[in-house]
Amino acid sequence: MSDNKPWLHGRKPGDRRVRIERPHSEFFRYAGPGQLVAREAASEPRTAVGQAIEKVRHTLFGRRLSIHEEMGERLSKKKALAIFSSDAISSSAYATEEILRVLVLAGAGALLLSLPIAIGIALLLGVVSISYRQEIHAYPSGGGDYAVARANLPGIFSLVVAGALLVDYVMTVAVSTSSAVEQVISALPNLVDIRIEIAIVAIVLIMLGNLRGLSESGSIFAIPTYIFAGSTLLIVVIGVFRVVVLGEHAPPPDPLPGAIDPIQGIGFILLIRAFASGSVALTGTEAIANGVPAFKPPEPRNAANTLLVMAVLLGVLFIGITFVADSFGIVPVDEPQVRTVISQVAAKIYGDNTILFYVYQAFTALILFLAANTSYNAFPRLAAILARDGYMPRVFSFRGDRLAFTSGIVILSIAAIALIVAFGGVTTALIPLYAVGVFIAFTIGQAGLVRHWLRERSAGWRKKLGINAFGATLTGVVFVVVLAAKAPTSLLVMVIIPVLIVVMLFIHSQYKASAEHLAMSEDAIIPAPRREERVIVPVPSINRAVVQAVNVARSIAPDIRAVLISDEPEEAALMRERWERQLPEVPLVIVESPYRALVGPMLAYLDVLDRTWPEDKEDPITFVVIPEYVARHWWERILYNQSANRLRSALLGRPHTVVVNVPYRREQDEDEPAPKRG
């Protein structure tokens, strides 16, 4: 009978009841026969330091999320448009400028070609978007072009896509951040000396936002994205009205002395370069296809519709801005003060130095910062898929407390910061590396889909195949154009991608080899081990920690010996006398070490034991039981167990050897009486 249960009285004398404690319920709940589910309390740190770190994490990133809350973290179309499209939509802020910067070299007359080029790029965007809509429906589990290539093409193609996309995601963060910083510097020129620091702070803030989780980052990023898109649409509408209805436009610019005829010779090459530069507008189009599982159900339908809205919005903004800039004769200005095309267009429509103008500039800078966020959703997901397939370290597939792929987010930030530092935070220097990888992914992804339709031959497959074949051809051509137009800097990407592929193949071969080594036949019945066991306890002296370790060793196997490595023969002799008196059943081996080494003689002793083992018997398992004193404070850790740590490190990987740590806590002093002397 248990008397410590609380008796509760009912309304009638016989209706007493007893409340039963459920000791497990704090940490676990049963989920079925043989199955437990850990509660949040089970994951909470137990030590004071751990709890303090947890508090900081909680403040920075929010509370820990359970996997059951994942559906709540799925994105609505509105949030998804903000998260996945900020890169693509923000490119309308600089794509026109990239075209004009090239065309201006061909002379004032060439500037008129900016609109046809923008329309051409928008058509390309349309083709790519239609292709990606098909990809989303064909591969709703995400992974985008990588998944398509992996399923339909020889293995190397999927790695090419993966490498290209990884490079481009890093470039997106670096380019959009440095571009945003330039917008800030345009408004506040005094900050030019700390442009790299501003970029780093921005990347760290975006990283923290993403580590908090998908849904919250969507809420943070949705407002600026929609304000930018809305106010840019307003610029386009007002601009078109003023040009078309009111008939306002600038006189055609005077040709520059010595300007090149755009449709002849070198002028044609500049035209192609303008097209290549403007095609940065397409970067980020693939992000939605990569992140289909992040959408609320029905995932493929919601993703496809979001992609359609994004493509239409981007196309309208891009053509609209180019039309307004073209009509008002706006060209990029670098001297005496940097004036971006978008800022000049805004000044023309909202009025120079008005509040609306500054608000718009602020949101343009903000959207460019947030454009990096598209990569923060795409890169970690792709890295997780690659990790799951064994091409990247497995740590990339683990999700943190907030269900975010922590490692991918952190690595992306580090890589982008490194690029910004290396290129001094100058966008122009980074641009040639940008948008090369994404066209590789487009082309291979569409080619993979062509193969998919040929294999599947589902309803309407001919039409779908035709669209993807056209898309693959077109993006393939554009890839060559972009690569050639941005050479020689762009060729660096063609070096980085193969290096990444080699690294991924190396990782894959390592995982494959270890998996083959560890594999067990599913049919094998595992018998009990027959190998003999022996136990070695390295002892520095006789104390409570040592006695506890010896007692643990005794429970492992009867073949046990304590080993003292000593450079003081007299002390060792005293130790033997005491050992034989107090622990007579456990043999003590003293190894004198005149060179004062500890680890070396211990390893040598173990080797000698192995050599003396009878050859006709299977090698025994050697347990090395190491007594360890557990420090109560973090600073005590440097005072204790240094020799034990060295020995443990040296024993790692030794064949047929198992290291057992036996921790002794000071609290045990208070619980147990000291052994009597004598």
Binding site: S2, W7, L8, D15, V18, R19, S25, R29, Y30, P33
Partner: protein, 170 residues
């Protein structure tokens, strides 16, 4: 649901669970009500102790099985994001213990299930527990009748019942 539409809104409800097929239905209903009223739920399972034992005797097997019944209820509540605590009791009479516990907790409602019995051609046998609660509980009582199975076969309730294992429980 608009609180004003119900003259007796629920702030705290006791769910009477017996490890039977209606437990899952009871917990789901309780969670839906709790979401609507922002109410607190207490799942109560009473182990009936026969007169051969002292009331406070360790009924180890029964306790572990009963605890798992409450855990499964908590698992369902987690999915609804509803606060549910488990209360495991030993008593001579299940009905009296449930009513007394509801009174002590200040519950506004007791929700209890009425299972369909397949034997003897299928029936809803009220037994003694439900009538006692209906007669003695001062709060609202919601009796959730299990749906009549199609063709007399009970639907699979494998998730709702049985003890787990893993902490020495079998």
């Amino acid at each position: 649901m608009v609180e004003g539409a119900n003259p007796n809104p629920i702030h705290k409800a006791v769910l009477g669970l017996n490890g039977g097929p209606t437990d899952e239905l009871v917990v789901h209903l309780g969670c839906q009500l709790a979401k609507a009223y922002a109410a607190e739920l207490v799942a109560v399972h009473v182990i009936e102790v026969t007169w051969q034992h002292e009331l406070s005797d360790e009924m180890t097997d029964e306790n572990l099985a009963a605890s798992s019944v409450l855990d499964l209820a908590e698992g369902i509540a987690d999915k609804y994001k509803v606060k549910l605590s488990g209360d495991l009791l030993q008593a001579r009479e299940v009905a009296a213990a449930l009513v007394d516990e509801a009174i002590e907790l200040g519950a506004d409602a007791i929700i209890i299930g009425l299972p369909y019995r397949k034997r003897f051609g299928g029936d809803f046998a009220m037994g003694t527990t439900i009538p006692y609660i209906l007669q003695n509980a001062p709060c609202q009582v919601i009796v959730l009748r299990e749906p009549v199975p199609v063709g007399g076969e009970r639907r699979d309730n494998s998730d709702s019942l049985t003890a787990g294992a893993g902490l020495g429980l079998r």
